[in-house]
């Protein structure tokens, strides 16, 4: 796999400052910005950029990079995530240039690359190789140093000649040098940066620990008569460096794999595509050169570069990552395809309708990137603890050394080393983000986008679930059934008018009308000037034939005469002009096949389930009965819904609101947790905490279960980190922990956190039994 992989952090390599500065100046060109930034819609000179930061290890590093970025005048905000190695920078083009804040990151001791830039991949691979190489050197030297140390462990006093003892020590010293200089290099360079920045991170205690061990052992090797004693600890030192690097390496691989779901989603666009030229031949061009209206040929195995329409050929398409739909979808000529989905079976030609930032794919990616730099509450808490914790560790080490100093100088120093090495704030600060990132990766793979990490925690405490009806419990698309019209109007004409008005709205009823109108394929001669949507009621259009209203009977100003015709089982929508009633449309709606299962799963898990709908009470009640919901409220205006929600919250209930995200934005926004369902959700404006992209309801109980698992893992991780430090630090202070064991302990402690989080990479499949 040579997928570009931005969701990982590496050990710091010496940046080639000259080269980078040169590359960064090139990034000051406005034309380059769009490759890693997007401009603020409201403020033309404000840009938002994504960066991949290399060389970060824990929360303290992320904080440092953030501080460095924010110190640059013109940088409005900067968010850095240590777990994903990503950063988001908002800056003003009038005041600063990318090269300025990119070099600020470098001055802080890290390396920033514009995300989605091709050379990031090379840099990463080089880094990865260097890291592996450091690990190999440490491992190799460790084994040999152990060999040299072994005789002195088994020999009785006087069995080995002083010459032999010295020779073995010199040999150990020689082979420890590469470990010190090369393998531990990143520890020292990072610690040095810390000191320069007057900051503290976990690299500092480790670096001090390595240095003390080496100095004591070196002194003992060349002058065994000094106060430092004659003991050497080369074997301990090489061993804990090796363990630490092993831990780092495995951690990186794990993180890479678990965050891989997010990553796979973010890099689905092809780099190049075959463009149809005017002479009928195809030329392979970069996706960035495409324009709207271009025709491209997409081969099987490739992914679609943009949103568009298939104009030649038919194929089946995998849209799993974008909608959660796991079956291949068949697409014939005329069908729409979305950027980022995979062409599976045969070559097709498509005309491009939407490109780049306008595609749904780009919206999803932007959303996921924003989430991946967000810090959940528990992570913020861990970050705050990390710094005082590290200072306490330095003091504990000093205290331990002071305590043992009288008894044995060498032992005093080594117990201080053990304290420095064994403590691991990393496990603490990794605990929350590792779990949440893995969980949201798994959710993304099955078609649920997490918009706020924090919501995963909130979701575990809810006790009430409130469903919207239309588009949530029922299919988003309705079908237009019977059409009744006034005397002077044909059904077709009525549909034309309604379709022309409804085009401007995203409400399911409107879409049904548009769809029905498209099927008869006639163009309306009526010119629509403006359309105003009254939420929960209908549409008012100004047209060339006067005002048209489309909506409920009341909204259209109709008396009960027409409304009385209503059959209770179906919903109806009315159209009226200034002259009065024009037509009514009967709409059928189908309940989603998984609605009843999802509702019963929710009820089995002890949640109270309700329905709130703007639709008529009778039809809401009917549908609610079918899916098994007892609490029903129909005829609600958006304000009613809001009031009801507030009432529930005043009663101390924690409510999860599930809606289609189109008509219930304010309601979703005011709920404790909100879930938007449906393919039509405009992601950029969606107010909800979660978006179920494919509209499958069974994902809701799954999401709940996943949230519970996530919080359980977070709690386990935090508990483990706390217990580990609480047990190991006193042991080390008491001098009962050899340095090599301390190194092993530290490597294992953060590894365990990552491994525990990795359990979340599979979505739980809820069965009714699990919920009961």
């Amino acid at each position: 796999m040579q997928q570009p992989n931005l969701l990982q952090t590496q050990i710091l390599v010496e940046p080639t400052a000259q080269q980078d500065a040169h590359a960064w100046v090139a990034l000051d060109d406005v034309a380059e910005w769009s490759s890693f930034s997007q401009v603020n819609q409201n403020q033309q000179d404000e840009w938002e950029s994504r960066l991949a930061i290399e060389g970060m290890h824990c929360a303290a590093c992320a904080f440092k990079v953030e501080k460095a970025l924010k110190a640059i005048p013109g940088v409005a905000s900067a968010e850095v995530n240590a777990t994903s190695g990503r950063a988001r920078v908002v800056w003003s083009a009038a005041i600063t240039k990318p090269s300025e804040w990119l070099s600020a990151v470098q001055l802080a001791g890290y390396r920033a690359l514009p995300a989605a830039d091709a050379f990031a991949q090379d840099a990463r691979r080089k880094n990865q190789r260097l890291m592996l190489w450091r690990w190999l050197v440490a491992g190799f030297c460790m084994m040999q140093v152990m060999m040299y140390a072994y005789p002195s462990y088994v020999a009785n006093t006087g069995e080995m000649t002083p010459d032999m003892l010295n020779l073995l020590r010199w040999a150990s010293w020689l082979l420890t040098l590469p470990v010190l200089i090369f393998s531990s290099g990143p520890f020292f360079s990072n610690a040095l940066n810390d000191i320069k920045q007057r900051q503290i991170s976990m690299e500092l205690p480790v670096a001090i620990g390595i240095l003390i061990t080496f100095l004591v052992s070196t002194a003992a090797t060349f002058d065994p008569k000094g106060w430092w004693g004659s003991e050497v600890y080369f074997d301990s030192m090489t061993m804990f460096v090796f363990f630490l690097l092993t831990g780092r390496w495995l951690e990186l691989r794990m993180r890479d794999r678990t965050a891989g779901a997010l990553d796979a989603l973010m890099h689905r666009l092809p780099a190049s595509v075959e463009l149809l030229k005017k002479d009928g031949s195809f030329e392979r061009v970069g996706v960035r050169r495409l324009q709207i209206g271009d025709v491209v040929r997409v081969l099987p195995g490739e992914s679609f570069p943009a949103d568009g329409e298939i104009i030649l050929g038919e194929t089946s398409v995998d849209e799993a990552l974008l909608t959660g739909e796991s079956h291949a979808v068949s697409k014939k000529t005329g069908a729409m395809v979305i950027a980022g989905s995979h062409n599976l079976t045969s070559a097709v030609q498509m005309r491009i309708n939407k490109l780049g930032q306008d595609t749904r794919y780009a919206q999803i990616v932007a959303l996921m990137e924003r989430v991946s730099v967000e810090k959940p509450r528990l992570a913020l808490l861990a970050d705050r603890i990390a710094r005082p914790f590290l200072i306490a560790v330095l003091f504990a080490a000093a205290a331990s050394a002071a305590f043992w100093w009288q008894a044995d100088h060498s032992r005093a120093l080594m117990s201080a080393v053990a304290v420095l090495i064994v403590t691991c704030p990393c496990a603490l600060s990794l605990a929350t983000p590792a779990a949440m990132l893995t969980a949201s990766g798994a959710l993304a793979r099955s078609g649920v986008l997490v918009r706020k990490m924090q919501a995963l925690e909130a979701l575990t405490t809810i006790d009430t679930v409130v469903f919207d009806k239309t588009g949530t419990l029922t299919q988003a698309s309705m079908a237009v059934g019977k059409i009744e019209t006034a005397l002077d109007m044909s059904a077709q004409r009525a549909l034309q008018l309604a379709g022309a008005v409804a085009k401007y709205s995203l409400h399911p009823v409107s879409r049904a009308l548009v769809l029905a109108n498209n099927q008869v394929e006639t163009d309306s001669d009526v010119h629509i000037i403006s359309v105003q949507e009254v939420a929960g009621a209908g549409l008012i259009a100004q047209s060339s034939i006067g005002e048209l209203r489309l909506g409920s009977a009341k909204f259209c100003g109709l008396d009960n005469k027409q409304a009385q015709h209503e059959n209770n089982d179906v919903s109806k929508v009315f159209m009226s002009s200034e002259a009065g009633w024009l037509a009514s449309f009967t709409l059928h709606e189908a309940i989603k096949s998984d609605a009843a299962t999802a509702v019963s799963a929710l009820k089995n898990s002890g949640l109270q389930v309700e329905v709130l709908s703007g639709d008529k009470s009778t039809s809401v009640a009917k549908i609610a009965a079918l899916v098994g919901i007892a609490e029903v409220r129909g005829n609600c205006t958006p304000q009613d819904k809001l009031n009801h929600l507030k009432l529930l919250q005043q009663q101390g209930r924690k409510v999860a609101m599930i809606g289609d995200g189109l008509n219930d934005g304010p309601v979703l926004a005011s709920a404790y947790v909100s879930i938007a369902i449906g393919q039509a959700v405009p992601l950029a404006q969606a107010q909800s905490d979660f978006v179920v992209m494919g509209g499958q309801l069974f994902l809701v109980p799954q999401l709940l279960l996943q949230a519970k698992h996530t919080m359980r893992v977070v709690k386990q991780n935090l508990l483990w980190a706390a217990i580990y430090n609480a047990v190991c630090v006193p042991l080390a202070v008491a001098g009962m922990l050899p340095a090599w064991l301390a190194g092993l302990g530290m490597a294992l402690s953060s590894l365990l956190v990552i491994l525990n989080a990795a359990r979340l990479s599979k979505m739980p499949m809820p069965t009714l039994k699990q919920f009961a």
Binding site: V137, F140, Q144, M147, L167, L175
Partner: protein, 45 residues
């Protein structure tokens, strides 16, 4: 046991030589493309 005075320095040199060899292998791209090289003989170009 005098032989140890030769063998121990030799072992140090050996370790350094092996590390040098590995360095060479990694940085001349010996592990760059492990899969395709093996399949290359099967491809007709």
């Amino acid at each position: 046991m005098d032989i140890l005075y030769l063998i121990i320095p030799l072992s140090v040199i050996l370790v350094l030589a092996i590390l040098g060899g590995l360095w060479w292998a990694i940085y001349t791209g010996q592990f760059e493309d492990v899969k395709d090289e093996g399949e290359r003989i099967l491809q007709d170009d």
